[in-house]
């Protein structure tokens, strides 16, 4: 076990440095990259906190979709789901995959961009 601060705590400190100390004093072409770097620290901070829990849930969703005999590695499960969607024409499976993928993507957004999934698109759908 590494000593404190944890990865999340260190990333928070680096993010604070970039956003609160470096960014205000930065002008010109580096300003945007510094802002992006600060935001990446926030993403990694959330990943350090939530990543394993969300990935375990992702594996569970993928195994429910693909069947329990498909292993427990998130990469190979994702590749298998992708292969089945690309090669099979099964509307029922696609509908189940849609629901599972939406939950997986919402999980990714909890790390990459919290709150992005608040908008539901309903008003702009056809019919």
């Amino acid at each position: 076990m590494q000593d404190r601060p944890t990865a999340a705590e260190l990333l928070e400190a680096i993010g604070d440095l970039l956003e609160k100390a470096v960014l205000p004093g930065t002008r010109g072409p580096l300003r945007h990259p510094v802002r992006v770097a600060g935001n990446l620290c926030r993403i990694l901070e959330r990943e350090a906190e939530l990543g394993s829990e969300l990935e375990a849930r992702e594996v569970e969703i993928l195994r429910q979709l693909l069947g329990p005999a498909t292993g427990d590695d998130v990469r190979s499960l994702t590749a298998e789901l992708d292969r089945r969607l690309a090669t099979e024409d099964d509307p029922e499976f696609q509908a189940r995959a849609w629901r599972g993928l939406l939950e997986i993507v919402r999980g990714k957004l909890r790390i990459a961009k919290p709150g992005y999934d608040a908008y539901d698109f309903v008003a702009e759908l056809p019919g």
């Binding site: 992708d82 957004l109 992005y116 908008y119 698109f121 019919g127």
Partner: protein, 340 residues
């Protein structure tokens, strides 16, 4: 950035030849010096008149997206159709003048940066609706142009009836190049294959990147449409749908048109100017554009990872892919609510 005397001299030589009289040049600002395009804002003093102009310079034609002649031809075609665009004063291929091929167009005042456009709209009640309607009218006038009059160098489908097929082939190829599979994108492609819309009556000249960010907006509304380098022939609904994708709304998600207006206002403007709005095709192109943008972000991350464009902005794009996966899935959601 201080203006270089060579640049002013080159512009003076170019314009003096075209106008048949001496023009004195005052460089105002060298805005947005990207790798592919370089915009120089300047004034030309001709007789007693001060003419505000912009030179769009391609510093390295080897990596240009479109030849300046083709881009200028699209601008001129759009102007002749009554679409608000900067007037083109001349096009030069002679690289000895300013260091690359370039064209000079009228400089038009107004906001172009999306958040500033939205701030302007918020400060002027009714402006958003006006702007959305004007965008519809401007697009319809462009789309009404005779495609045969477009520059022969403008990108076009191999055959008139294969726009959808080529778009699908394009995204399928990009999906094949992903560093890691995205089942959401694959599901999106399958949906697109199953829901191909009926083709338009005829192909139109498209702007190709008609969105908040490429519009000059004042308190009177739309003043000009910029950046024609990805223009092509295609389904007119592609242009309308691109303007309505979520990423151009800049958090104003409820305002589908660029974060400033409603689709009904855009459509009304489009139809009032003689355009034929097709809902089914509009939605299909919105799904396609969303998928394309997601694949583009994944491609940027790949360019960072494989070392071809090592850059933190490109790297960060990889963590934006989930946004587009979400948008795509939500655009495909069952409308009976069963899947939600």
């Amino acid at each position: 950035m201080s203006p270089t005397p060579d640049l002013a001299q080159g512009l003076a030589r170019a314009l003096s030849t075209t106008w048949g009289e001496t023009a004195e040049i005052e460089i105002r600002d060298q805005a947005s010096a990207g790798a592919r395009r370089h915009n120089v804002l300047f004034d030309a003093l001709r007789g007693g008149e001060r003419i505000p102009l912009v030179a769009t310079i391609i510093p390295n034609p080897a990596i240009q997206v479109m030849d300046v002649e083709v881009e200028a031809a699209s601008l001129r075609l759009a102007e002749s159709q009554g679409m608000p665009v900067p007037h083109v004063h001349g096009v030069w291929q002679d690289t000895s003048l300013v260091g690359g091929p370039f064209f000079v167009s009228t400089r038009i005042d107004g906001e172009t940066i999306p958040r500033q456009v939205l701030r302007l709209v918020e400060a002027h009640p009714g402006l958003g609706a006006t702007l959305a309607g004007q965008c519809g009218g401007a697009l319809a006038r462009l789309h009404a142009a005779d495609a045969d009059k477009a520059h022969e160098g403008l990108i076009r489908p191999r055959e008139d009836d294969c726009v959808v097929e080529q778009a699908l082939t394009g995204v399928a190829a990009l999906i094949g190049e992903l560093l890691q599979p995205s089942p959401s994108f694959t599901l999106g492609l399958r949906w697109l294959e199953r829901h191909a819309p009926a083709p338009p009556e005829r192909l139109s000249v498209l702007h190709g990147d008609f969105r908040n960010g490429n519009l000059i907006v004042g308190d009177d509304g739309l003043r000009a449409v910029l950046d024609w380098e990805v223009g092509h022939l295609g389904d007119p609904m592609e242009d309308a749908a691109w303007l309505c994708m979520r990423m151009w709304r800049f958090r104003n998600d409820e305002l589908e048109v660029g974060g400033f207006g409603q689709r009904a206002q855009l459509r009304e403007g489009y139809e009032a100017a003689g355009g034929a709005w097709r809902d089914e095709a509009f939605h299909w192109w919105k799904v396609l554009g969303t998928l394309r943008w997601g694949l583009g972000l994944a491609g940027q991350a790949k360019a960072h990872i494989d070392g071809s464009v090592p850059n933190i902005i490109m790297a960060a794009s990889g963590r934006r892919v989930a946004e587009l996966e979400y948008d795509l899935l939500m655009l495909l959601q069952p409308t009976d609510g069963a899947g939600r």
